[in-house]
């Protein structure tokens, strides 16, 4: 009886088609995924727990060998689905949302948890996205209950609109994902941008903005963290060299326990510098002694500031509030310096 019930459920809700045997039974159809999402929103409301959704959108293919056949596309889809199912947890629900879109529902997962899953998926899928034949561009967009909506359909709308945001993000537009961190910094600090999310400016003595601006920004971010100590986040602050007299020290000392991971970086670190709750890293790279870096991501905002010192102490700067760009820069930085790839 139980086996029969299981079979009915599988036939009803999964894309397990005996004649084609395309996917595992854990890969569901849009009806089941959407129903599950609605129920998960109700459960989260009831128990006060977050949950997230990820939409994987297959944006385009690049096939030097010529047009793709139906078989090529099916093979691609199989690899995509099987790899996704291998990466996600048993409790996660994966299924086809619509043409070109796969949905993963992540129960009990907050914003940063969903970003970590996206990182894992992106890495695991590299063999079909950047190394495979054909290459495929997949956009990963997420939404989290309740920050992006309390109703499941609203969350889907938010995640869908983020696919466009990601497509329009400078990270994608300038193909920064293919560059090393310092190459990306060079590109961004010399981009001459004045859009609402991306602005270049110069900083230095006798200019409207002096180097005090970086300290002000860092102090403001630390203040935000102090005001919301329970909100998860990550902050990298590159302050050239980690010296005992850094103006940030008192503010850092006052922070107390916080759910934000704070990293203070420089080319060198003065002996005896020790601040609780802050990880200090001397990276022994002279490029750090000529640049200020602030990369901050929290559950509800992102900010990135990059300043490169040039001739006569004038810094070429770039700042942004684009979360995809900031996330991309953080990931690139972590990879290039073999730091922990975490949020």
């Amino acid at each position: 009886m139980k086996a029969l019930k299981k079979e009915i459920v599988e036939k009803r809700f999964s894309l397990l088609d005996e004649s084609k045997k395309l996917f595992e039974s854990r890969f569901y159809d849009a009806f089941f995924v959407n129903e599950y999402g609605r129920l998960e929103a109700v459960r989260s409301e009831r128990y006060g727990m977050p949950f997230s959704i990820i939409i994987m959108h297959v944006d385009s293919f690049n096939s030097p060998a010529g047009p793709l056949t139906k078989k090529d596309l099916l093979d691609f889809l199989k690899k995509l689905v099987n790899t996704t199912l291998r990466v996600v947890r048993n409790c996660d629900v994966t299924g086809m949302l619509e043409d070109k879109r796969i949905m993963v529902i992540l129960p009990h997962t907050d914003y940063f948890g969903s970003l970590i899953t996206i990182k894992k998926l992106r890495k695991a899928l590299e063999f079909i996205t950047t190394k495979g034949e054909p290459h495929a561009s997949i956009i990963f967009a997420q939404a989290t209950y309740p920050r992006d909506g309390r109703i499941y359909t609203d969350m889907v709308k938010v995640a869908s609109s983020r696919i466009n945001d990601i497509r329009n993000s400078l990270w994608e537009r300038l193909s920064l994902g293919e560059k090393l961190f310092w190459e990306a910094v060079a590109t961004l600090t010399s981009a001459g941008l004045s859009e609402h999310d991306y602005v270049n400016f110069e900083m230095g003595e006798d200019m409207p903005l002096g180097e005090g601006f970086v300290n002000r920004i860092n102090q403001m971010i630390l203040h935000e963290i102090r005001k919301n100590p329970k909100r998860r986040g990550i902050l990298y602050m590159g302050i050239k060299n980690i010296a005992k007299d850094t103006p940030l020290r008192d503010t850092l000392n006052m922070l107390g326990k916080t759910a934000t991971k704070i990293f203070l970086m420089g080319e060198k670190k003065e002996a005896g510098f020790d601040v609780k709750n802050v990880t200090t890293i001397a990276l022994n790279d002279s490029r750090l002694s000529e640049a200020y870096i602030t990369l901050f991501m929290s559950e509800d905002s992102a900010y990135g500031l990059l300043c490169r010192e040039g001739w006569q102490g004038v810094h070429s700067c770039f700042h942004t509030s684009d979360p995809y760009l900031v996330e991309g820069l953080i990931t690139r930085f972590q990879r290039d310096y073999e730091l922990q790839e975490t949020f």
């Binding site: 970590i116 309740p146 920050r147 990880t279 001397a282 905002s301 730091l339």
Partner: protein, 520 residues
């Protein structure tokens, strides 16, 4: 006797990991013990609790996560911090943020060393008195007793004291001597003596090198004795002191004061112009509270200062400024608006002005609001950049309304989106002299409203009276909605009260949530 090395238990599977961790830790002066399966690791941890467990999640027999659950629930091992290592990040049930760490391969060894150092520091904090850290509750051990213990044991480090309301202060101690005390924006004796009065709250002493100059001028014993004396004297004399909510007026010309007076007198007479309310003046004066009150008494007795009761209008406004019911409704609205299940305790109002002077004037006009705090450090900073929290209004129920100044220049646009979390309103300020820059205000308003839908308030900051023709001009210039008003900063008394009331009323209105940008 030689110091015992801290022991780190390596519960690892891979031979390579064991060798590299053992070598790395031994080089840095730690002792290590090794277990290659979960059962053995559990026995070793219970027999001789280590300072830290570095654990591979793929441990055989009992896996890493399960072993963590077991040891975490054992009272003898519950304080041990865990450093998990794995190939990929994964959620661990019961993971204690701030105590446990998670690292994924490959490791950057300096980062790893930092993580171990931090994990050990957390572990030490939880250990007992001795050479280790101290933490506890002020109701069990008063700050005076604690300072004496640290003094006699010639300790060095930071003593962090946190009240139940979440306010926290730090006392820096070196060789048993008190070097400085910081409480919010105040420091030295004033901060120390205030902290000594705290009867409830938590404390923790973090042993670490203190590299700051000594700013407390006396010995620990003298400071404690003086602090206790001032508290006793204050208690005895407090009924003679001016009421905290009364206002003071000076009867002398403060620009022509004679030389040779005590520094505290100059400071009080300077501050009284900006902070006429006793409570605010005492908060902003750098001298200890008791000394400020006794000096105030003396100045009042000599008729240099006059104590005036609250003006009728001010009383009316302050008492009814924000009722507890309204404050709770505001808090509910902010929580719902941001859909944040974590404790939301502040809402942000952007101040966008055509000049920094207008921001300063606006903040000065707000200073008489009940429980309004000015960020003096930012307002008086000379880096020429008025950016960030310039003031804070504390409402009933622990809700703060933070006034955040943001310059209306295109270069600063990314700051708007980045810092607009918990945004509950926007205040635009201009005057006749700078109205030519109104286009920048409009651009900033557009940018803010494209990110968040919040009420906008318009403040005219000129001394000149605002004529009805000017109101019409500004209404048209800013394309204001019918229900929006221009508030003159220098009009009738209580403008700022009315402005905030309008903001809060808007905020609590249902249609505000769905409100759109003004028609263009």
């Amino acid at each position: 006797m030689k110091d015992k090395k801290e022991n780190i238990l390596l519960a690892l599977v891979e031979k390579e990991d064991i060798e590299s961790f053992s070598g790395f830790l031994k080089e840095r002066g730690f002792a290590t013990s090794v277990a290659t399966d979960g059962a053995r690791a559990m026995d070793m941890a219970i027999d001789d609790p280590p300072a830290l467990v570095i654990i591979d999640l793929k441990l055989p027999v009992i896996d890493g996560e399960r072993l963590f659950q077991i040891l975490k629930n054992n009272p003898n091992t519950s304080r041990i911090p865990f450093l998990f290592i794995s190939d990929a990040h994964q959620e661990i049930r019961g993971f204690r943020t701030g105590t446990d760490m998670f690292l994924t391969r490959p490791f950057q060894w300096e980062e790893l060393h930092e993580s171990i150092r931090q994990a050990l520091a957390f572990g030490r904090e939880k250990a007992a008195i001795g050479d280790k850290d101290i933490q506890g509750n002020l109701s069990q051990m008063s700050l005076v007793d604690l300072l004496q213990v640290l003094h006699f044991n010639k300790k060095e480090g930071e003593l962090v004291v946190t009240s139940f309301e979440g306010e926290s202060g730090i006392i820096y101690i070196k060789d048993g001597q008190l070097y400085n005390a910081i409480l919010g924006e105040i420091e030295k004796e004033k901060a120390l003596f205030r902290l000594i009065t705290w009867k409830d709250g938590a404390f923790e002493f973090r042993p670490k090198p203190v590299n700051i100059p000594k700013r407390l001028g006396s010995t620990t014993g003298n400071l404690i004795m003086e602090g206790v004396r001032q508290i006793d004297e204050f208690e005895k004399a407090k009924r003679l002191f001016p009421d905290k909510d009364s206002f003071l007026k000076t009867r002398v010309n403060t620009t022509t004061l004679p030389k040779g007076l005590k520094p505290i007198i100059y400071e009080i007479l300077f501050l009284v112009e900006y902070y006429p309310r006793v409570r605010d003046l005492v908060d902003h004066c750098s001298f200890p509270d008791y000394e400020v009150y006794t000096t105030l008494m003396s100045l009042i007795n000599r008729r240099i200062l006059v104590e005036v009761k609250k003006l009728k209008e001010e009383k009316e406004f302050s008492e009814e400024f924000v009722s507890p019911t309204l404050a709770i409704r505001i808090k509910e609205k902010v929580i719902n608006r941001w859909a944040d299940m974590l404790s939301v305790n502040s809402g942000k109002v952007f101040l966008v002005a055509t000049s920094d002077e207008l921001i300063k004037e606006f903040i000065l006009a707000c200073k008489n609001l009940p429980d309004f705090h000015i960020n003096k450090a930012l307002l008086s900073s000379d880096d020429g950049l008025l950016l960030g929290d310039v003031g804070e209004l504390r409402l009933y129920g622990g809700m703060d309304i933070v006034l955040f100044s943001i310059p209306p220049v295109r270069d600063m646009m990314p700051m708007i989106r980045a810092f607009s979390n918990n945004l509950v309103g926007v205040i635009l300020l201009w005057d006749e002299r700078t109205e030519g820059s109104a286009a920048h205000l409009l651009e900033s308003r557009k940018e803010i409203l494209s990110t968040r839908t919040v009420p906008v308030l318009y403040v005219y900051g000129d001394m000149k009276p605002l004529k009805s023709s000017a109101i019409l001009k500004y209404r048209s210039l800013f394309n204001m909605r019918e229900d929006e008003t221009v508030f003159p900063l220098y009009g009738k008394k209580g403008t700022v009260h009315r402005l905030f009331r309008s903001l809060f009323d808007n905020l609590t209105r249902e249609d505000y949530i769905q409100g759109a940008m003004p028609a263009t």
